[in-house]
């Protein structure tokens, strides 16, 4: 049996895929958080970062492609494992209060929390990457531009501030972060287990590390929509952008004749 069939076909191998892709996705989640926390600085900081990323299309697109491959591997393997696990017990037990003895809640609902996070990722991409209008409950984000280094670039700061001032968007982001927290709480330590990095000495350390990392990620990500929704961050900027958009909006073709008359 070659290493490839061993990994792709065996139950243990599939867990290696889950652990490996999960670890890479965790690295992305951490990097993405560090990038996003720049929203707490001046608008130029995160816009400059976004501009820097967009000015390296090869880098960005290879990272996107890599992430897509990793995510697809993680999700398809999860679905395969779930099907295999379900098939292993065709007749279930009578419902009793006792079923989850010894098993943490997070560990029993990994597929569910994962699928909700997947739905969130799709929404998040449509929301802030594809800038699909009409799903953000606010302005058309494609209109938000700012000038950086003499070029017109997307105003990422403005999008985040205006986007998270919508209560249901912020709430959905918070729920998704809660589920991601739950998913990681079990996933991070279990990845060590799946690769065999565990014994009675290291397991308590791994669990502590998992707690620190997941709580830090949750607080970091939850802080962004909360602070913006509570108008702690960028409220003036949002009002300014909205006012500017309204001004631009009045110069629509339907109203321009009237405006023209006034200038006469």
């Amino acid at each position: 049996m070659s290493i490839v069939t061993g990994i792709l076909k065996s139950s243990l191998g599939k867990k290696y895929i889950m652990a490996g892709t999960g670890a890479l996705l965790l690295l992305f989640v951490i990097g993405h958080l560090i990038g996003n926390l720049q929203v707490f600085g001046p608008p130029e900081l995160i816009n400059n970062y976004a501009h820097f990323l967009q000015s390296k299309p090869v880098l960005v697109w290879s990272a996107r492609l890599g992430l897509l491959v990793i995510l697809v591997a993680h999700v398809t393997t999860a679905v395969q494992l779930a099907a295999m696990n379900r098939a292993a017990r065709p007749v279930t037990y009578a419902p009793t209060e006792n079923v989850s003895y010894g098993a943490k809640w997070a560990s029993r609902y990994m597929l569910l929390s994962g699928l909700v996070v997947l739905a969130f990722i799709i929404y998040h991409l449509a929301h802030f990457t594809a800038l699909v209008p009409g799903i953000n409950g606010a302005e058309d984000f494609r209109k938000l531009r700012t000038v950086m280094h003499g070029q017109s670039v997307p105003d990422v700061y403005g999008m985040m501030i205006i986007g998270f001032q919508v209560w249901w968007v912020s709430l959905f982001y918070l729920i998704a972060q809660g589920l991601l927290f739950m998913h990681l709480q079990h996933g991070v330590s279990s990845a060590f287990q799946s690769f065999g990095f565990r014994n009675h000495v290291w397991w308590p350390r791994i669990e502590t590390l998992t707690k620190i990392v997941t709580i830090a990620i949750f607080i970091g990500y939850a802080l962004i929509p909360t602070a913006i929704y509570m108008r702690v961050v960028g409220a003036d900027y949002a009002d300014k952008v909205r006012a500017e958009l309204k001004q631009d909006g009045t110069v629509s073709p339907a109203e321009s004749p009237a405006a023209g008359k006034e200038t006469h």
Binding site: M1, G6, P90, T92, N98, Y101, F192, F197, R198
Partner: protein
């Protein structure tokens, strides 16, 4: 004391099963759970009904024959105890106790509470052995074994192959069992020659039997009558990864025996 039993009755592998409720006769609270079933069966036999079939042998917690999921938990309410050493004093007078067989695709029901656990035997046949020379027994302690390895190997060797780990796992996974066997032999010098071949063969057989994968919920560890640790599953995962990295041995080319 008296209890009400809600028991899974199934005539054979191919018939559909159902729960049936029985009132127990007066019981001594110091009876074991299996003795309680004996008393209930005696009454059923006297009434001309089919007694409840259940697995049992040593009744002292060392053979791994008894099974049953009692109120949703394999081997009953206690930690580190098999069904045969669960006593009626753990229940209250008038309780309804739900008794089910171990449920897994790899454990087909033979009758009532008796399931076919030969899948575990087949995993053992695939690799749970060592090669030793025949002849007179070697001197004791002739092969040095570090104390900590000997202790760990003994912890793993406690597995009595009852299958409660499979019954408890939400995925009906046999990982804890296979991990215990792989670790027990893999930790000792006598188990080294087949160490990597063994883990591959036993995992392959485990997958072929239709057991699920590990989600690290820890249910297996919680119900194991011998309290075998999840650490051993990590050890198996590690050995399997090393085995895959090492690859298959070089094939023998012609000629051969010298």
């Amino acid at each position: 004391m008296k209890v009400k039993l809600k028991v899974w009755r199934q005539k054979d592998r191919n018939s559909p099963g159902e729960f049936k409720t029985y009132e127990s006769p007066a019981l001594n609270e110091n009876m074991s759970f299996l003795e309680m079933l004996d008393v209930v069966n005696e009454e059923l036999a006297n009434k001309g009904e089919e007694p409840i079939a259940f697995d049992h042998d040593c009744r002292e917690g060392i053979c791994g024959t008894c099974s049953c999921v009692i109120n949703g938990k394999p081997h009953g309410p206690h930690r580190g105890v098999a069904t045969c050493q669960t006593y009626m004093r753990s229940f209250k007078d008038g309780d309804t106790i739900v008794v089910e067989p171990f449920r897994a695709k790899a454990f087909p029901i033979i009758k009532d509470l008796v399931v076919d656990r030969k899948a575990l035997d087949r995993i053992q046949f695939a690799g749970g052995f060592i090669s030793v020379r025949t002849g007179s027994a070697p001197d004791a302690n002739s092969i040095p074994v570090p104390k900590e390895n000997a202790d760990l190997a003994m912890d793993a060797a406690q597995c009595i192959q009852c299958g409660a780990c499979v019954a408890a796992c939400k995925n009906a996974s046999a990982m804890l069992f296979v991990a215990a066997k792989v670790s027990h032999l893999g930790l000792l010098p006598q188990g080294q020659p087949e160490r990597y071949k063994r883990v591959k063969a036993m995992v392959a057989q485990m997958d072929a039997e239709g057991f699920g994968a590990c989600t690290v919920t820890g249910s297996c560890e919680a119900v194991c009558p011998k309290e075998i640790s999840l650490d051993f599953i990590a050890r198996m995962n590690r050995d399997y990864a090393v085995a895959l990295l090492k690859g298959d041995p070089k094939p023998i080319s012609g000629g051969g025996a010298g």
